[in-house]
């Protein structure tokens, strides 16, 4: 099993959700996060005082999937989330040791 963690632009969330649904992926966890990579952030001015806002709002999408589908899902997310500009975000893929469904103690891929 693999865990896919994609940090994307908030306005791309709907597109990514739709794209994942279209290839049969329903389960995911979404979090509002803030962060930055190479993107510099932006400047805000209040009362003539400048503030650099370097932590920008992003959305983190997490899903755990069968290992053989991971690459297909990554490709799908890239296609849906890419604008080609700095700030599009990143995707991380992890190995997952175990998955357990709390309701009935299902284990492994049947739990995801």
């Amino acid at each position: 099993m693999k865990k896919i963690e994609a940090i994307i632009q908030p306005f791309k969330l709907d597109g990514v959700k739709e794209a994942l649904k279209s290839i049969g992926i329903d389960g995911m966890t979404i979090t509002d996060v803030r962060g930055h990579g190479r993107q510099k952030g932006h400047k805000e001015v209040y009362r003539g005082q400048e503030y650099n806002v370097d932590l920008l709002p992003k959305v983190k999408v997490e899903l755990v999937v069968a290992a053989e589908r991971a690459e297909e899902i990554v490709t799908t997310i890239i296609a849906a989330a890419r604008t080609g500009k700095i700030g599009d975000g990143k995707i991380f893929v992890y190995d997952v040791q175990q998955a357990i469904r709390i309701r009935n103690d299902d284990r492994g891929e049947s739990a995801i």
């Binding site: 209040y46 009362r47 503030y51």
Partner: protein
């Protein structure tokens, strides 16, 4: 139309009275049924005017209360950091209780009792004699109690304005004690001097320095704004100022607050006519035009100054204009009103973006930069643009007197400057003494830990935004 009708009616009513005075022996010539009818008509006309005036003044009173909360509470509440939103709103809201009680016990009397030049007296203490019968010294067509409750709303918002200067770092107990003393030492005497019968600065009631202040440029905005500056300097900067981010946590609620202030200000200024009269309309119009011009002026100068036209700028600009037009509102024509507003928008912009940073005081929400500076500018410009074409209330031996420089009375500018100086001195000295007293008794500042936790938690044990509930 309405005014003409009223004048005609008054003439009609005055005629028999004049006749009766000129030749008392001919009074008997009016047949009794007609005399009775005339008397009934006179009573009906008076009661109609009283009904109209009282309706407007009760609405105005409610509008001015709305300026404090939700208006100012939202405006200030949005400008602070998230952890201080409730404490900042509390600084406005609690005064609706505190000042009201002080007002009932002695405040109203100290402001409007007696006819001494500097202070009121205790004749209306515990609202003694303040009922539905009008008090002709102040407003002959509305119940005395209406006048009293209307003036109360001014006494509530004035100390609330100061809270912009000590926001995010004052102890709640200190803020309460400060306000009690401040109303007694600064507000009531100033209100008496400017608006009270026989007050030193009251141009309309025999003041020896005839100052023009229609709705409270000196009484409300200079006293609160200058006291705010003294508070900001005395309390010192917030921990981390100016390097740490102190940006507003929610400008959306500040915009709602500013909108409510703008609307409420019609009660504040137009209500100061104390009647539903043509003068109220003049003040309404001047108020609106002043605010509009000030907002555009602030935006324009912000844009030209290398920035972008901001929402914070737009709401600050309109408030600056409303402040500056306050003393002038019942004395000036619409275009001078716009000019006063525009000047205030430009000046207050530089006050909060340049002067404040240059001198380094932490006037957190710009109570001085907007109310102190805008109020001073407005009070002086009132002496320039006030005209008897708008307000013919100032009469000597029945003759309407010229008001400001545009009427050819250049000396009025000097009178205004004297009024401004008295307001500044009273605010500075009074506030310094009070701060010292509060400092040595209950202590002024929150501890650094309380300040970093936020006053909502450390003073009130609650939070404005609870995401997990």
């Amino acid at each position: 139309m309405n005014l003409q009708f009223r004048k005609g009616l008054l003439c009609l009513l005055a005629c028999p009275a004049l006749l009766a005075q000129a030749a008392p022996d001919t009074a008997a010539a009016i047949p009794a049924p007609i005399a009775a009818k005339l008397a009934a008509l006179e009573a009906a006309a008076q009661s109609a005017q009283s009904a109209g005036d009282n309706a407007w003044m009760l609405v105005s009173s409610a509008l001015v209360l709305m300026m404090t909360a939700p208006g100012l509470a939202l405006f200030y509440g949005g400008l602070v950091r998230r952890k201080n939103v409730l404490s900042t709103m509390m600084h406005s809201f609690v005064l609706m209780g505190l000042v009201t009680v002080i007002w009932a016990v002695a405040g109203y009397s100290l402001a409007f009792g007696g006819s001494a030049p500097y202070f009121g007296n205790f004749q209306f203490a515990f609202l003694n004699g303040v009922g539905t019968a009008p008090n002709a010294d102040y407003a002959a067509t509305i119940p005395h109690a209406t006048f009293m409750i209307y003036q109360l709303m001014f006494a509530i918002i004035t100390p609330a304005l100061i809270s912009g200067a000590f926001a995010e770092r004052i102890k709640f107990s200190a803020m309460l004690l400060f306000t009690v003393l401040w109303t007694l030492v600064v507000y009531f005497p100033m209100a008496h001097m400017v608006w009270g019968k026989g007050g030193l600065l009251n141009a309309f009631a025999g003041g020896s320095i005839p100052c023009l202040d229609f709705a409270g440029g000196t009484v409300v905005h200079i006293t609160s704004g200058v006291s705010a500056l003294v508070c900001a300097i005395y309390l010192g900067k917030r921990v981390g100022y100016p390097n740490a981010s102190m940006k507003p946590h929610n400008l959306v609620i500040s915009v709602i607050g500013a909108g409510l202030l703008w609307v409420g200000w019609f009660g504040f200024n137009a209500g100061s006519a104390l009647a539903a009269s043509g003068l109220a309309t003049s003040a309404f119009v001047a108020t609106h035009f002043g605010a509009a011009a000030a907002m555009l002026a602030w935006m324009a100068v912000e844009w030209l100054d290398g920035g972008k036209p901001s929402m914070l700028g737009a709401i600050s600009g309109c408030v600056a204009g409303l402040v500056a037009i306050t003393p002038a509102s019942g004395f000036v024509k619409p275009f001078p009103a716009m000019l006063i507003g525009a000047c205030a928008g430009v000046m207050c912009y530089f006050m909060v973006t340049r002067i404040k940073h240059k001198f380094g005081y932490d006037d957190a929400l710009d109570a001085f930069g907007v109310h102190g500076a805008g109020g001073t500018l407005g009070a002086i410009l009132t002496g320039v643009f006030a005209t008897s074409a708008i307000n013919d209330g100032l009469k000597v031996a029945g003759k309407v007197q010229p008001l400001g420089l545009v009427d050819g009375n250049g000396g009025q500018v000097l009178n205004q400057l004297l009024g401004v100086a008295i307001a500044w001195v009273l605010a500075i000295v009074g506030t310094l003494v009070i701060l010292k007293i509060v400092d040595v008794t209950v202590g002024l500042r929150a501890t650094p830990e309380q300040e970093s936790d936020g006053l909502d938690l450390s003073m009130h044990n609650e939070e404005g935004y609870i995401l997990e509930s």
